[in-house]
């Protein structure tokens, strides 16, 4: 069955379609499932029994079930037909993870949809019901194997509702992509990077104008400007405010520091460092050949750095059909 459906699917390769896509009757294929074939066999046996015993009710039941099968076929097709699909932006992932493209299914007003599935090849299908006139989301899971822009290519949307006797499906391809960051490797931030100059400690307990980090008990010598006076008024204990991040100091994550490594390995390493720096709240910049991200911190900055790593030496328009290879 699968091979046949695959073969049918190769007939029309049109490339991405403009969204939203309405599943018209013309683009829906339908074939009996294994259960459908089994059902037909049981009916055949029942028919022979009815003929042999000349049993009228046996005939009647056989015919009723046969008619039910035929009607079911139409319903399976109609359960899919008229559904409107469109995509939404996919959150970036790291290579090695699965990219989940959110596919939005709209049921037309008046008729609900049941058990509609999106098949992400080899990743199991996920199902959802859609109430009439409402929308539902299904993730299209695609393994992200290499960094860059991942285009999921064609995917199959199908349904076997109501009785699981027929399999109706349609192929859809959207112009959507997901940013795949390089896979971070297992290294840690090297000490040399942290304090190339021993005189300049990265974590500064005294420097005062960066992000508030927490309170600790007062030690003689702390600057009065850093004492939490409001707190002291309430509790008698002197506490000192702690701040994080060296104001004038920032880390440089540099491609050139990683001699002796292959390009992809360097990117993996840098990705790890970016993540670690971000987690530790450092201020950091990223330097790649020909490109640079000025030192900064924060979520947006992290995303900018990761994006640069993901798309390094890859044109953003390049179509990397990783799924075809997978």
């Amino acid at each position: 069955m699968t091979s046949l459906s695959e073969r049918l699917s190769t007939r029309k390769l049109k490339g991405p379609e403009s969204e939203p896509v309405r599943l018209t009757a013309r683009r829906i294929y339908i074939l009996p499932t294994r259960h459908g074939v089994l059902f037909a066999l049981v009916l055949l046996v029942m028919l022979f029994g009815a003929i042999n015993y000349n049993n009228s009710l046996g005939y009647a039941l056989t015919f009723l079930l046969a008619a039910l099968g035929m009607v079911t076929m139409l319903h399976t097709q109609h359960n899919l037909a008229g559904t409107v699909l469109h995509s939404q932006t996919c959150a970036p992932v790291f290579a090695g993870q699965n990219a989940n493209f959110p596919i939005c299914l709209d049921a037309p007003a008046g008729t609900a949809r049941y058990a509609i599935a999106i098949d992400s090849r080899g990743f199991g299908a996920r199902f959802t019901d859609v109430a009439a006139g409402r929308s539902a989301h299904l993730p299209l899971s695609v393994p992200a194997t290499v960094r860059g822009r991942l285009r999921p290519g064609r995917f199959k949307v199908y349904s076997e509702f109501p009785l699981g006797l027929f399999h109706a499906w349609s192929w859809v391809e959207f112009d959507m992509s997901c940013l795949v960051y390089p896979r971070p490797d297992d290294s840690t931030l090297p000490q040399t990077l942290l304090s190339p100059d021993p005189g300049e400690a990265l974590r500064s307990t005294s420097a005062g104008c960066e992000d508030f980090h927490g309170l600790r008990s007062y030690r003689p010598g702390d600057s009065p400007r850093q004492i939490a006076w409001k707190h002291a008024a309430r509790s008698d204990a002197l506490l000192t405010k702690q701040f994080v991040g060296g104001a004038g100091r920032s880390l440089w994550l540099d491609w050139e520091q990683l001699d002796g490594l292959m390009a992809e390995a360097r990117l993996s390493r840098l990705t790890r460092w970016v993540l670690d720096c971000h987690r530790a709240g450092y201020r950091y910049g990223l330097r790649l050949p020909g490109r640079i991200v000025e030192a900064d911190s924060g979520e947006m900055h992290k995303r900018q750095c990761l994006e640069m790593l993901a798309l390094f030496e890859i044109g953003s328009s390049r179509r990397s059909r990783t799924t075809a290879a997978a």
Binding site: F39, F48, N52, Y59, P162
Partner: protein, 659 residues
């Protein structure tokens, strides 16, 4: 809501629904099955439910094979065989239950449910009553919704919407099923030999009669056959449905002589004949019932020397046949020596008092007819009682005890005593069993003959007149023959409700029977004969097998196309926007003249562009646009405006520009 397909599991709610379906399927079989099978099924069902509840593991392959072997052995022990109808059903029920042990994949559950469908068919081998059919329709609905519930990947079982949906599916399937039922080419006769136990346990007349056998039968109000007369039915007193003719008496039991085929017709009939069609319930015997005497007989049947109508094969299916009978007839032929000897046979030394009575009457009456009259007069005048509950007679000299002692009896007592007196007096006589009368159903316009109408009467040979029917019961209880058994036995009504004098209940009962008759005629009796008859009635002549098949294919696909159209329209109807449709027509008219509206162009911008390009259209285009905006974007659109808009658009013409 989102579920992966791979991790199949049967939630307790779904399991419960499956088990309900199974219980309903097995229930009609349960009274016929040995107790241990029913108990096993219940035990496995309970285990299944608990297993799905507490996540118990399914038994391994070895256990399952062992259980299957045990089941086989059990069936063998209970039935002595594993083949045949009863053992086969028992095996199927066990197989269905054992399948519950291994519902690990969706495929298993599907197979299980398909097996359920199959088990329904086996129920129909035992009974095809309307009630069972109605019950099974409900079971099909539940099985189908169970199929829908398990094939839907959601974990929770939403029973009520699924029930509604499967009911709607079945309803939509009904027309197609009807077409298949009517048009699918029927084959006559079995494809392979039926097992011996295919037809068992059917009540009806037998080929022997002893005191009490017919009164026993009379207590059943089961239908023996139904008769459809062409024209008016004859009077009740003339309705003697001839069955087995019993000539041999052993002192207690009357039995039939082996049938001999009638070589030549020995009677002269007087037209007009009575034409009628009998729908005989299967009784697993050879005889067919007809009024005396059949002039034309159905195919596959023949008349015997004693005018019994016999089929060539046992009546195992409900049988329809048409007969023309001639109620007025005379016999010219003489009795052969053999026949005379059979008709005078008496066991030696039995019933001396009867013999003496016969000889006394013989002496006192002049001729044979006088003797008959004398005996009947005796029955009429002396205190003989017609009753359904006569006292028990001794095995020896039973007739003596009846005539001189008890004097209470049912038709078989009177017929038996009368024939003995005749034989003792030297007149050839025999007992005829069958049915007398019947109940006319004015709703369906047919006659119902029940087992309670079973009757025994006699025939005597009168020189020059041949066999003459004499019904001694008529002498004791004339109303039995003229009206029916319920009039003759007002206080011991045999059949229950059917014989009640309550007219409403009687009416309902008649309606019910009429319905049953229709069911038998059109559903159960629909075979290849009826199929061809239907075709010829529709004026299609002798439709061939191929013709039927292509008609079937055509009509079924037609019905499916209609359904497809209905579904599509329903979907489209929900999304249709008449206002937008009308406006799009307007846009198309302009588009044909090169003024297509861009997808993102609003109506005002569009009309502005149109008026710039074609100033002569300005007025109409603006009015249309204004109406459209009011309808589509305005707060209170109304039907009158829509009507106006459509009119305007219909009349809107864009002339071609000459360049």
């Amino acid at each position: 809501m989102i579920r992966r397909r791979a991790d199949f599991s049967l939630s307790p709610a779904k399991t419960l629904w499956l088990l309900l379906a199974q219980a309903l399927v097995i229930a009609p079989h349960a009274p016929r099955l040995p107790m241990w099978i029913t108990l096993t099924s219940i035990a496995i069902a309970v285990w299944r439910y608990l297993a799905s509840r507490w996540q118990w593991r399914a038994p391994g392959r070895v256990t399952r094979i062992l259980l299957l072997a045990l089941a086989l052995a059990g069936v063998l022990a209970s039935y002595g065989t594993v083949f045949g109808r009863d053992a086969g059903v028992a095996l199927l029920v066990l197989a269905l239950s054992l399948k519950l042990l291994e519902l690990t994949q969706l495929r298993d559950v599907m197979l299980y449910l398909f097996l359920g469908y199959f088990l329904i068919t086996t129920s129909f081998l035992y009974s095809q009553s309307m009630a069972l059919a109605g019950y099974m329709l409900v079971v099909v609905l539940i099985l189908t919704s169970a199929l829908m519930v398990v094939s839907h990947p959601a974990r929770e079982a939403r029973i009520r919407p699924r029930l509604r949906q499967s009911a709607s599916l079945l309803l939509q399937a009904l027309p197609v099923a009807l077409l298949l039922f009517l048009l699918f080419p029927r084959v006559s006769g079995p494809l392979w030999n039926l097992p011996k136990d295919a037809h068992h346990g059917i009540t009806g007349l037998s080929d022997s009669m002893s005191p009490g056998s017919i009164s026993q039968l009379s207590r059943s109000d089961a239908v023996a056959f139904r008769v459809d007369f062409d024209g008016e039915p004859p009077a009740n007193a003339e309705l003697y449905w001839r069955g087995p003719v019993l000539s041999h008496y052993n002192g207690e039991t009357w039995s039939a002589a082996p049938p001999r085929r009638l070589r030549r017709s020995e009677f002269h009939v007087q037209p007009p004949g009575v034409h009628y069609t009998v729908t005989l319930e299967p009784h697993n015997r050879l005889w067919l019932f007809a009024l005396d005497v059949p002039g034309s007989i159905p195919n596959d049947s023949y008349l015997t020397q004693d005018y019994q109508l016999l089929a060539r094969q046992r009546v195992e299916q409900r049988l329809r046949y048409s007969v023309t009978s001639y109620l007025k007839h005379t016999e010219g032929a003489r009795l052969s020596h053999y026949e005379r000897r059979v008709a005078l046979q008496l066991p030696a030394g039995e019933n001396p008092l009867t013999r003496a009575l016969a000889q006394r009457l013989r002496a006192s009456s002049g001729n044979d007819a006088g003797l008959v009259a004398a005996v009947l007069r005796m029955f009429r005048q002396q205190p003989f009682v017609y009753t359904l509950n006569p006292p028990l007679l001794p095995t020896h000299n039973g007739a003596d005890a009846f005539l001189f002692n008890t004097r209470r009896g049912f038709c078989e007592h009177y017929a038996s005593a009368f024939v003995l007196i005749m034989r003792d007096a030297g007149i050839p006589a025999r007992v005829v069993t069958g049915y007398q009368g019947g109940q006319y159903n004015p709703i369906g316009g047919y006659l119902i003959v029940r087992q309670s109408d079973a009757h025994a009467w006699t025939e005597i040979w009168l020189r020059g007149r041949g066999w003459v029917r004499v019904d001694p019961t008529a002498a004791v209880a004339p109303s039995r023959v003229e009206v029916g058994i319920e009039a003759a036995l007002p206080n011991e009504a045999p059949g229950g409700l059917v014989f009640s004098h309550n007219s409403l209940l009687r009416h309902v009962a008649l309606m019910w029977d009429s319905l049953n008759n229709g069911w038998n005629q059109w559903v159960l009796g629909y075979d290849n004969n009826r199929q061809t008859r239907l075709w010829s009635q529709l004026g299609l002549g002798n439709a061939s097998w191929q013709w039927l098949a292509s008609a079937l294919a055509l009509t079924v696909s037609g019905a499916l196309i209609v359904l497809f159209g209905y579904l599509t329209l329903r979907q489209r109807g929900a999304n249709r926007d008449r206002v937008r449709d009308a406006y799009q027509r307007f846009c198309r008219k302009l588009e044909r003249r090169g003024l297509a509206r861009a997808a993102q162009e609003g109506p005002l911008d569009y009309v502005r562009r149109v008026t710039r390009a074609r100033p002569e259209l300005a007025g109409r285009a603006r009015r249309i646009t204004q109406l459209y905006i009011a309808l589509r974007y305005g707060p209170t659109p109304n039907a009158a405006q829509l009507h106006k808009l459509r009119g305007l658009i219909r009349r809107f013409r864009v002339r071609r520009v000459r360049r």
